[in-house]
């Protein structure tokens, strides 16, 4: 769980501070994986008693989330590519024509 929390925090910091678009997307992945780790950890029978824990649900949810993260990453990368085509840069600070 601690590792999961660590990953989560790292991911959030990454998302919030990175200028490079790909770095931001990596941060997103970190966040999702941190949560995944949490799921698995909390589903473990060693954390709590069998009735009180997520059990197999945790593992299954983690599986689904992996797939989902992959799909999201694919889409995000496609959008990043589109962005590059239009702006010729992946510096997200340049994306500020929409403001106010």
């Amino acid at each position: 769980m601690v590792v999961g929390a660590l990953l989560f925090t790292c991911g959030v910091v990454c998302m919030a501070t990175k200028r490079n678009l790909l770095g931001v997307l990596m941060g997103v992945e970190l966040v999702l994986n941190g949560a995944n780790l949490n799921f698995i950890a909390l589903g473990s029978p060693y954390l709590r008693s069998v009735e009180g824990s997520l059990g197999l649900d945790g593992q299954l949810i983690a599986l689904f989330v992996i797939v989902l993260a992959a799909a999201e990453a694919a889409v995000a990368l496609a959008i990043a590519l589109n962005f590059y085509n239009n702006f010729q840069t992946i510096d997200i600070d340049h994306a500020e024509s929409l403001s106010g």
Partner: protein, 763 residues
């Protein structure tokens, strides 16, 4: 369908048909006028035909209803000896169609009350209306092209205006609808409604040539004088409603119960159908004291109040002044409205309301009629306008009817109403025919028209004979007026025998008969006999077209035959079967103890019949003789007689100075008061208001400049500036930088967490 529903349905349909014609003409022509600027004359002609068709269909339906009635109800036919007429309630159908408004216990409904009198009146009114409509198709043909009105001066030239043919028939249809509404009405409120409606139609019709000052003034006069009478009628209605609680004449079925109407409540079977005031009439003082006749005064006053309305509508003294002026309207209007129908509405209401009149009220009615018939007859002696003669004759004959009703002759009075309708409308239409031919109303400008217009002349002769009551007393046959006038004089004789002090009520009708005969034949001789007094007009005179003469012939036939009993068609018999509840036995006055109103059947006694017949014949013969002496044989000179009796002549010529009297007593003071009030309003009240306005403006200026501008505007502007400023600031938050957005996710989350933790640890 039983006769209970078929007759009312037929009559309702007949009643509504003229309304449909009115609505179609009114709406259709106004639409066309809006689109084309003027209604084409062909369309106007068709409108007239539609109106005629509607009233003709109504006549047909009324006659069918009459025959159905005859077929389904037994009737006492014709004259019979002095046996008593049945005293109970007559056969009638009554029901409510539609409830207009219910305020507390006041229920205003539209309903019908159909008895033999209703059916008869329907037949008569629709028949005469149809004749007049057809006549008007011909008479008003001037309106089918542009009209030059010689009596109106516009900037020094005569008025040119487009024709208004369709408007005339529109108003005629509306009038027919209103009049039939009065006849079929089942309660007093509905009568009042249609009373007013008839008054409005009369206003429109009299003022048809509205550009003429005389015509519009006459229309105003008619309406205002009518309203004076209606004031009394309202008081009577209020008294009745406060005491009895209902306006309906007959008993209205309501579900399984039956709500008793006026007649049933006031004339109960338990009292042998005598008129006994109900509990509602008794005032608190009368309750406690040992009053002799509790509630009687109120009932009498209610009756007199209702009669006031009839005074106005039927042009009785003292509200008779409008009828002669009403001759400004076109002749068909005079024939229909002011001879046969509208003025008869007053008599009809007295007849319908008969069971509620106390003998004292009836006495008042009789005297009013008596005075009226005398005054009108005298004025007619000297009138020179042919229509005015007929107008005063109408007023006089209405006086006859009121007199007859007042002295207990219900059947006689209503009979005279019907016969009078026929011959008076005939007379008016003939006079119209004459006016149409010679283009003048003045008798001194006519003469010798018998040769030029034979049909008109001889039908008018028939009318004159009918009105004087020509007939053979021994044989017992005569024209229609003979029967009805004789009936009145019979009843007067019977009345005088029982009430000595009121003998004048017998002398007046007889004297009136003399005068009637005199002035009617004076008119006929002046118009049709002797050398023509105006050669130019005589040369241009010609007989009227067929569309005008055929109604004359039809009405002449009815004027002759209305009194005859042809099989089941017996007007007297039908009327006797419709004798109102409890009135057949006569009555004794309570407050005026000496008053005895004889039962009508007493007047059928042979002794009375013979005496009355002789008197009537004699009176008529005397009158005709005098007229012939003066105007036909010219043995005596009328102008010499006039100069001999100059004061009387002047009195009669100025119509007893009623118009001037009313002008001085009522009109001028009202105008003066109006002017005075206007002065007060302008000077004082307006001055006060202007002053207040100036003060307010001054105050508002101060308040406005200080308070409004500084404080309120300041606040509003400040608020607006604040909002805009806030918006500008908020805009800066949205920087457009993605990193900042994500940072705000984190910050927002942290803020919420700290808030939650703060709340959690605060507990």
């Amino acid at each position: 369908m039983s006769s209970a529903s078929i007759i009312p349905n037929l009559l309702t349909l007949a009643w509504l048909l003229p309304l449909v014609a009115f609505a179609v003409i009114c709406l259709g022509c106004s639409m066309v006028q809006r689109r084309q600027g003027q209604v084409p004359y062909e369309l106007q002609r068709r409108a007239g035909l539609l109106s005629v068709g509607a009233i003709g269909a109504a006549t047909l339906l009324s006659f069918i209803a009459l025959f159905v009635w005859l077929g389904t109800h037994e009737w006492t036919g014709g004259a019979h000896g002095g046996e008593l007429h049945p005293n109970g309630p007559p056969r009638y159908y009554a029901d409510d169609w539609y409830s207009l408004v219910e305020i507390g216990s006041l229920k205003l409904t539209l309903g019908y009350y159909v008895d033999a009198l209703t059916v008869l009146m329907f037949a008569m009114v629709t028949f005469i209306a149809t004749c007049v409509h057809v006549y008007a198709l011909g008479y008003m043909h001037d309106e089918l092209h542009e009209v030059t009105d010689h009596e109106v001066n516009v900037r020094g030239r005569h008025l040119h205006r487009p024709g208004r043919f369709h408007r005339f028939f529109q108003y005629l249809s509306l009038f027919s609808f209103s009049m039939l509404g009065i006849v079929i009405a089942g309660n007093l409120a509905m009568v009042f409604m249609f009373w007013e409606l008839v008054g409005i139609c009369s206003y429109f019709l009299i003022g048809f040539y509205i550009e003429r000052h005389s015509a519009s003034t006459a229309a105003n006069k008619a309406f205002i004088v009518n309203r004076v009478g209606d004031f009394g009628m309202l008081i009577g209605m209020m008294a009745l409603w406060a005491s009895v609680g209902t306006f309906s004449f007959g008993d209205i079925p309501q579900g399984d119960k039956v709500q008793p109407g006026l007649f049933s409540q006031l004339r109960n079977e338990s009292n042998d159908f005598a008129l006994v005031p109900t509990v509602g009439f008794v005032s608190p003082q009368e309750e406690s004291a040992d009053a002799k006749y509790p509630g009687y005064w109120l009932l009498t006053i209610a009756g007199i109040g209702i009669f006031c309305g009839c005074v106005g509508k039927s042009a009785q003294f003292p509200l008779h002044v409008w009828l002669p002026d009403a001759m400004e309207g076109p002749t068909p209007v005079s024939a229909l409205v002011h001879s046969a129908t509208m003025v008869a509405a007053g008599v009809y209401l007295v007849g319908r309301f008969y069971p509620v009149f106390t003998p004292e009220a009836l006495l008042v009615i009789a005297y009013t009629g008596c005075i009226t018939l005398f005054i009108a007859a005298t004025i007619a002696l000297t009138a020179t306008d042919i229509k005015r003669v007929l107008a005063y004759s109408t007023v006089s004959q209405l006086g006859y009817m009121m007199l007859a009703l007042g002295i207990g002759g219900w059947v006689a009075g209503m009979f005279h109403l019907m016969t009078h309708a026929f011959f008076k409308s005939l007379l008016f239409l003939c006079s119209g025919s004459v006016i149409h031919a010679v283009h003048t109303n003045e008798l001194p400008l006519m003469g010798g028209l018998r040769k030029k217009m034979p049909i008109t002349a001889y039908t008018m002769l028939v009318g004159c004979l009918a009105i004087i009551g020509a007939g053979l007393p021994i044989a017992g046959i005569g024209l229609s007026g003979y029967y009805s006038k004789d009936a009145i004089i019979e009843q007067a004789l019977s009345f005088a025998k029982l009430n000595g002090p009121h003998r004048v009520l017998l002398l007046a009708p007889v004297l009136g008969a003399v005068l009637t005969a005199f002035y009617m034949f004076r008119m006929w001789y002046l118009a049709f006999v002797g050398p023509p007094r105006d050669k130019h007009r005589y040369d241009h005179a010609h007989e009227s077209p067929r569309v005008m003469t055929v109604p004359l012939l039809v009405l002449a036939f009815m004027a002759i035959a209305a009194g005859w009993n042809v099989g089941p068609l017996c007007i007297t018999g039908l009327l006797e079967s419709a004798q109102p509840i409890g009135t057949a036995v006569g009555a004794k006055g309570s407050l005026a103890a000496a008053l005895t109103i004889p039962a009508e059947s007493l007047s059928h006694a042979p002794a009375i019949k013979q005496q009355a017949g002789l008197w009537a014949f004699g009176a008529a013969a005397l009158g005709v003789l005098l007229a012939t002496v003066f105007y036909c044989w010219k043995v005596m000179n009328s102008s010499e007689v006039a100069s001999t009796f100059r004061p009387i002549h002047r009195l009669l010529l100025s119509k007893w100075w009623f118009d001037e009297l009313y002008d001085w007593v009522f009109v001028k003071p009202t105008l003066a008061i109006g002017l005075g009030i206007a002065w007060v309003d302008r000077r004082m009240i307006d001055g006060l208001i202007h002053f207040l306005a100036r003060c307010a403006k001054w105050g508002a200026g101060i308040v406005g400049s200080i308070f409004d501008v500084r404080v309120i505007d300041g606040a509003v502007d400040g608020l607006a500036a604040l909002t805009w400023g806030g918006a500008g600031e908020l805009r800066k938050i949205q920087t457009g930088r993605l990193r900042q957005y994500v940072m705000f996710i984190v910050l927002g989350f942290l803020a919420l967490t700290f808030a939650a933790l703060g709340v959690a640890f605060a507990r």
